[in-house]
């Protein structure tokens, strides 16, 4: 079957797989109807991140689902759809019926299930996993994650001596990812990766921390995409020196994840603005943060 239906607490999550031609043995609208009657859930999210394309026939089946939900005052949203899918929906005059959001969070906000003050745990874990993997595979450092916490707005300084910063943007927020570490750790990574031994940080090597932030974001994006979140990213920049500050976007919530290593503690921070209803277009890749 080209799809899977799983019930979450408050909505049905339908994962679309591969090309959706609408020629499954059991049509999606029939299967969906049965699942809906069983669970009584009236909200549905269609995760299209692994859907390569849709046929007009398949769209008609989705439109049938829309009609049924609408009768019960239910709602449905598509998330993570690629340009081909969005285009096909538009060409068939169904873009106000089969509404596409860039991320799962956008859909939940539409359903009234997510408020701007919350921070989504599903969103944080990919950053945690990505940080560990990248430090292990690329920098040869074992990093043990500590408990994530919310940074207080009265505390704007980054924790480390040097930080790599990269902007992230999605449909529902704009923000930054920062990897911040003590000088000693950076010098150790420098040695592990480039074989360079130095007594202190110099201008010509700082880009390495920006590159680490870049790779971590790249990995986090992959996991986030499978959850229905689509992010765009900019080119990274690096800041260093004691008391260096991070450039915040929107002055919103900031989650800090500490990591313990044999060379000290470093921090992965994800900062976003709280204006989650602000509509954003697809950002272009920008130079620096």
């Amino acid at each position: 079957m080209g799809f899977e239906i799983v019930s979450q607490n408050e909505y049905l999550l339908v994962k679309l797989l591969g090309p959706c031609e609408g020629d499954d043995e059991q049509k999606i609208d029939k299967v969906f109807k049965a699942k809906q009657e069983e669970t009584k859930l009236k909200l549905a999210v269609f995760n299209c991140s692994e859907c390569s394309g849709v046929s007009a026939l398949f769209l008609r089946q989705l439109a049938t689902i829309y009609k049924e939900l609408e009768k019960q005052n239910g709602k449905m949203r598509l998330v993570g759809a690629n340009d081909s899918v969005i285009d096909t929906i538009q060409k068939n005059g169904l873009d106000r019926i089969l509404v596409c959001k860039m991320s799962l969070r956008g859909a939940l906000v539409d359903f009234g299930l997510a408020t701007s003050k919350e921070f989504d745990v599903n969103f944080i874990n990919p950053f945690l996993n990505a940080t560990q993997k990248v430090f292990k595979v690329q920098a040869f450092i074992e990093a043990r994650p500590g408990k994530p916490s919310l940074k207080k707005m009265s505390d704007p300084l980054l924790m480390g001596d040097i930080s790599g910063i990269i902007s992230i943007a999605s449909e529902t927020f704009k923000g930054t990812l920062a990897i911040s570490m003590p000088e000693a750790m950076f010098l150790k990574i420098l040695k592990n990766m480039l074989g360079t031994e130095q007594a202190s940080i110099s201008e010509d090597v700082v880009d390495l921390v920006g590159e680490l932030a870049n790779i971590i974001l790249g990995q986090a994006k992959i996991e986030l995409a499978s959850l229905g979140y689509r992010l765009d990213m900019a080119l990274p920049s690096c800041v260093w020196g004691k008391d260096h500050k991070i450039k915040h976007f929107g002055g919103g919530v900031c989650i800090v994840i500490p990591f313990e290593t044999d060379s000290g503690t470093f921090y992965t921070e994800v900062m976003t603005n709280t204006n989650l209803t602000e509509k954003m277009g697809t950002p272009k890749v920008a130079k620096g943060a």
């Binding site: 009609k67 609408e70 538009q90 068939n92 005059g93 169904l94 106000r96 019926i97």
Partner: protein, 138 residues
């Protein structure tokens, strides 16, 4: 067969929408729909098409916030099912001929300049309504 003709009024001013409906409601068998902007209008068009009870005539204001009537018109005409139908009556204070011509390219049946009298609107609507009825085999 359901003989009602479905008409969508698109204007950001609720007062003006009501005036428009009053001006043409004397003509029988009309079912009215209203939208305050291009996005709402698109949604109604698509939903009605889905239910197989399509909108046949749109009375459309040009100047609206976010998406203008002209942009809305271009977008719906680019979709196959809305290429010819619904027929569109455009309302605008604009008389500049280049703009009027640009509009006509996207299939506007009648162009009514503001301010308009009841007679002017009713006349434009009636002639459009006649064409719709003929095309639908009424």
């Amino acid at each position: 067969m359901n003989k009602k003709i479905r008409v969508l009024i698109v204007d950001d001013s609720k007062g003006l929408r009501q005036i428009i409906m009053r001006y043409i409601k004397d003509l029988n068998d009309i079912e009215f729909f209203e939208a305050g902007n291009g996005e709402e209008a698109e949604q109604i068009l698509q939903e009605q098409a889905l239910k197989e009870m399509p909108i046949k005539i749109v009375v459309l204001d040009w100047v609206m916030p976010k998406v203008t009537g002209f942009e809305f018109l271009k977008k719906i005409r680019s979709v196959q099912i809305f290429e010819k139908d619904p027929r569109v009556i455009m309302l605008s204070a604009e008389t500049y001929s280049d703009l009027v011509n640009a509009c006509m390219k996207y299939g506007v049946e009648k162009y009514v300049t503001k301010p308009f009298t009841q007679e002017q609107l009713a006349e434009a609507f009636e002639s459009t309504l006649k064409k719709v009825k003929v095309a639908s085999g009424f």
